[in-house]
Symmetry: C2
C-alpha cells in the first residue's frame, strides 16, 4: 500500500456539524412530533434573484447554439465578470483593482483553503479563536502544524483569542507571524473591523513582512457606510493583502457556486535567498494548473448580480436576512442573554446564560424550544461559553423560534 499524507490524521475526528447532526437525530427519535427550527448552519433559503435566473437561462440558450457555445474559458474568468467586479465592488469605493488581479473561482471555501499552498511549509500562521475551521484544517493537512493539543489548539499555529474583552477583534500578534487570516464581518462572532482597526493590521503586516488573507465573504451585510467592505480601502493594503469574496451569501449562490479572490500585483513573497516573487503570478500558476474555471452560465449568473435590477433584488434579500438578525438579537436579549454581532453580519453570537457550556446550551435550546443553533466551542476553545445563531432562515421560522423562546 502507498504511504498516505499522515497530516490528515491529525484532524479532529469529532467535527462540529456531524456531532450536531447526531444530537438532533437522537432528539427527533425520542420526539418524533417535534417541529425543529434550524438556525445553525450558514445556508441561505431565499431563491435566486429573478435577474440572475434570467441571465443564467439566457446563457444556457447560448450554449445550445454553435455561435453562442463556450468551451474552456479564460483561466482567471471572463472579462465581463471581472470588469463588473472591478467597477462595482472596488472602483465604486475608490479602489482601483485590475481585472488581471481578480481570479474567478467556484467558492471562497476552496480559495481560502488552497491559498496556503503558495507559502513555505515553515511559514508561521495566525488565526483568530474562534475561527472558520477551513483556515486551520487546510494548514493541518499541508503539514504546517503539529498534533492537536488538549486545549483544542494545534501545535505550531498562533491563536489570537477573540473575546468579549477585545470585542471579538484581537490585536496583531506580538510574536513573529508570516501569514494571518482575518475575517470581517466575522464568522462566527459577527464582529466587524473598522478602518482604523484594519489600518493597524496593514501597518503591522508591513512592519513584520506578513501577508494578510482577508476573508470578506460577508461584506454585503455591512450596514454602516463608514465601515470598510474591502481591505484595499486601507492605504498600503495592496502590498500586503489577498482578499476573498463570494456570491454565496451576497446573492444566495451557496448551491450555485461562484466567488473570487483578489491578488494585487503589489503583494509579494520571497524565496529563502531573498528573491521577491509575485503572489499574483504564483496564484495564477496554481489556478491554471489545478483548476479549470467556473461554468460560463454561472459566470453569466454572477455578472447579473451587478445589473441595476440584480442589485435591487439582491439587496432586498440581504435586508430580509438582516431583519431576521434583528429579530434574533432581540429574542435572545429578551432571555437575558448578552448578544453580539448580527448588526453588520448574518451571524449572532451570544453568551450562554448561567455560565452554561456551549453544548449544554445547545441541548437546552434543542430540548426546551426545538431550536437548533451552533455551539461556539465548535469554532475553537475561545468559543466555549458562546453560541452562534444564523440569520439565514425563513422569517416565519425565525419569528416562531423567538416566540418559543420568549414564552420560555
Amino acid at each position: 500500500m502507498a504511504r498516505i499524507n499522515e497530516h490528515y490524521l491529525k484532524l479532529k475526528a469529532g467535527y462540529l456539524f456531524p456531532e450536531i447532526a447526531r444530537r438532533v437525530k437522537a432528539f427527533q427519535e425520542q420526539n418524533p412530533k417535534a417541529r425543529l427550527i434550524r438556525l445553525g448552519i450558514g445556508d441561505v433559503v431565499l431563491p435566486l434573484a429573478p435577474a440572475v435566473v434570467r441571465a443564467m437561462q439566457e446563457a444556457c440558450e447560448e450554449m445550445a447554439s454553435e455561435e453562442g457555445f463556450h468551451g474552456y474559458g479564460p483561466e482567471r474568468g471572463y472579462e465581463f465578470l471581472s470588469s463588473a467586479i472591478a467597477k462595482h465592488d472596488y472602483a465604486s469605493r475608490g479602489v482601483e483593482i485590475k481585472t488581471s488581479e481578480i481570479f474567478i473561482s467556484d467558492g471562497s471555501k476552496c480559495d481560502s483553503g488552497n491559498i496556503q499552498e503558495l507559502f513555505a511549509l515553515s511559514s508561521k500562521v495566525a488565526v483568530a479563536d474562534p475561527v472558520y475551521p477551513v483556515y486551520v484544517d487546510t494548514n493541518v493537512m499541508a503539514g504546517r502544524t503539529g498534533e492537536i493539543l488538549k486545549s483544542g489548539h494545534y501545535e505550531g499555529i498562533v491563536y489570537l483569542s477573540a473575546t468579549q474583552a477585545n470585542h471579538f477583534k484581537p490585536s496583531p500578534p506580538e510574536e513573529k507571524v508570516d501569514v494571518v487570516y482575518l475575517c470581517s464581518p466575522n464568522n462566527p462572532t459577527g464582529s466587524v473591523l473598522t478602518k482604523e482597526e484594519l489600518q493597524t493590521w496593514v501597518h503591522w503586516a508591513k512592519e513584520n513582512d506578513a501577508v494578510i488573507l482577508y476573508d470578506a465573504a460577508y461584506e454585503a451585510f455591512i450596514q454602516d457606510p463608514n465601515l470598510p467592505h474591502s481591505i484595499y480601502e486601507i492605504e498600503g493594503a495592496k502590498e500586503v493583502a489577498i482578499e476573498f469574496r463570494s456570491f454565496s451569501k451576497t446573492a444566495g449562490f451557496t448551491g450555485t457556486r461562484c466567488a473570487f479572490t483578489v491578488v494585487p500585483e503589489e503583494v509579494l513573497g520571497k524565496t529563502q535567498g531573498g528573491e521577491k516573487v509575485s503572489l499574483n503570478q504564483l496564484w495564477n500558476r496554481r489556478q491554471s494548473t489545478k483548476f479549470n474555471g467556473v461554468s460560463y452560465v454561472i459566470q453569466k449568473a454572477a455578472a447579473a448580480c451587478y445589473s441595476a435590477l440584480g442589485q435591487e433584488q439582491i439587496q432586498a434579500n440581504i435586508k430580509y436576512y438582516m431583519e431576521n438578525a434583528g429579530l434574533i438579537r432581540e429574542g435572545l436579549a429578551s432571555m437575558g442573554l448578552e448578544v453580539f454581532g448580527g448588526e453588520h453580519a448574518p451571524y449572532i453570537w451570544a453568551k450562554t446564560p448561567k455560565g452554561l457550556g456551549s453544548w449544554d446550551f445547545f441541548d437546552e435550546l434543542l430540548n426546551k424550544y426545538q431550536v437548533v443553533g451552533t455551539p461556539g466551542a465548535g469554532f475553537g476553545p475561545s468559543g466555549e461559553g458562546y453560541f452562534r445563531l444564523s440569520a439565514f432562515g425563513k422569517k416565519e421560522k425565525v419569528m416562531e423560534a423567538i416566540e418559543r423562546i420568549k414564552k420560555g
Copy 2:
C-alpha cells in the same frame, strides 16, 4: 515578506501553449490574411446537447422558487447524478460501484491534480512520457521532485517512455513506485489499453503495494466493444485504483464543468507505522474541507446526459468527432506520415516526416498550410519527433485542413 513555496519555481517557465500562441501570433502579424485552422488544443466546438440544455434551464427555473431552491448540496454530489453514473457507466458494464464511492467535481484536471495530496511527500511517482502535464506539475508544486534536468525530466519522478516500440503503452516499472498515473484512451498519444494490458497493471500494483490513478476522461471515444472503459472491469482493480471521469469531452462540458472521481472503499493506503487507511475517507475529507460541490444546475445538466435522448445526442457528437479523427488520420497518412491513435481517442499522434523535430514540423504546418497543431515534445522528451492533432474541430475546417495538406 512571507516565504513562498519554492517548489513552484521549479516549474518549467516556457510552457507549451504560451509558446504555441507566441509563434501563431508572429505568423499572423506577418500574414494578416492567412486563415488559420486550429487543431491544437483539446477544446470541443459542438454546442451542448438539447436535452442537457433543457435540463439545465429547468434547474434554473427551480432555483427561482422557494420550494425548488437548492443551497449547499451533499458534499459528494447529488444522489440523482451519482446513481445515474453508477447505473449507466458501471453497472451496465458489470461493475458495481456505490454512490458513496463517487465524488462529483468541477473537473478531472482539478481531481487528477489534487489527488496527490492524499499521499506521503516521500511517495515515488511514475508517469508516462509523453504525458498530460498536470500529473507532473502538481507533484512538482507539492515538493515531490527535484529540479528539472537537462533531459526535460524532473529529478525524482519515474518516467515510463511511451514509444513506437511499445505501441505507446509502457510496461510497469522495474523499480519501486508507489503511485502511477495511467491515461487511457491516452492524451496525447491516442493509445488505448486492452483488458490484458490493464490486468498486468492491476497485478503489478497488487504485487508492489502501489496505487493506480486511472484517467479515463476519454473513455467515451472507445469504438471497440472489447476494450475496457473502466479499470474496474479488471478483477481486483477496486483494491488498487482510483478512476477519473469527465463530462468535458464526453458531453462537451469543457466550459460547463462537471466530472467525477471514483474512490472504491477497498483501496487503501498505509501510515508509516503500517496502519491501513481508507483513501475514500481521506478524499472525502479533502473534498469536504477544500471544495464545496458542483452547482445544482450543472449537476442536473450532467444527469441529463444519461437520459435516452441525452445519450443519443451525445453519441452523435462523439461520432462527429471520431469522423474528424478518421479524416485527420487519412490526411496525414496521405502525406506519408506514420499515424497513431485517433481510432478510440480524439487525438491523432503522428511521427514527423524526414526526422523533423516537433517544433520544426509545427512551423512547417503553420507556414505551409496554416494549420496549428501541438508539438509532441511539449508533452515530454519522448514526444520529440511526434505531433498531436485534435479531432475536436468543426468538420468543414478539418476537411479544409486536410485538403490543404493533400494539395501540398
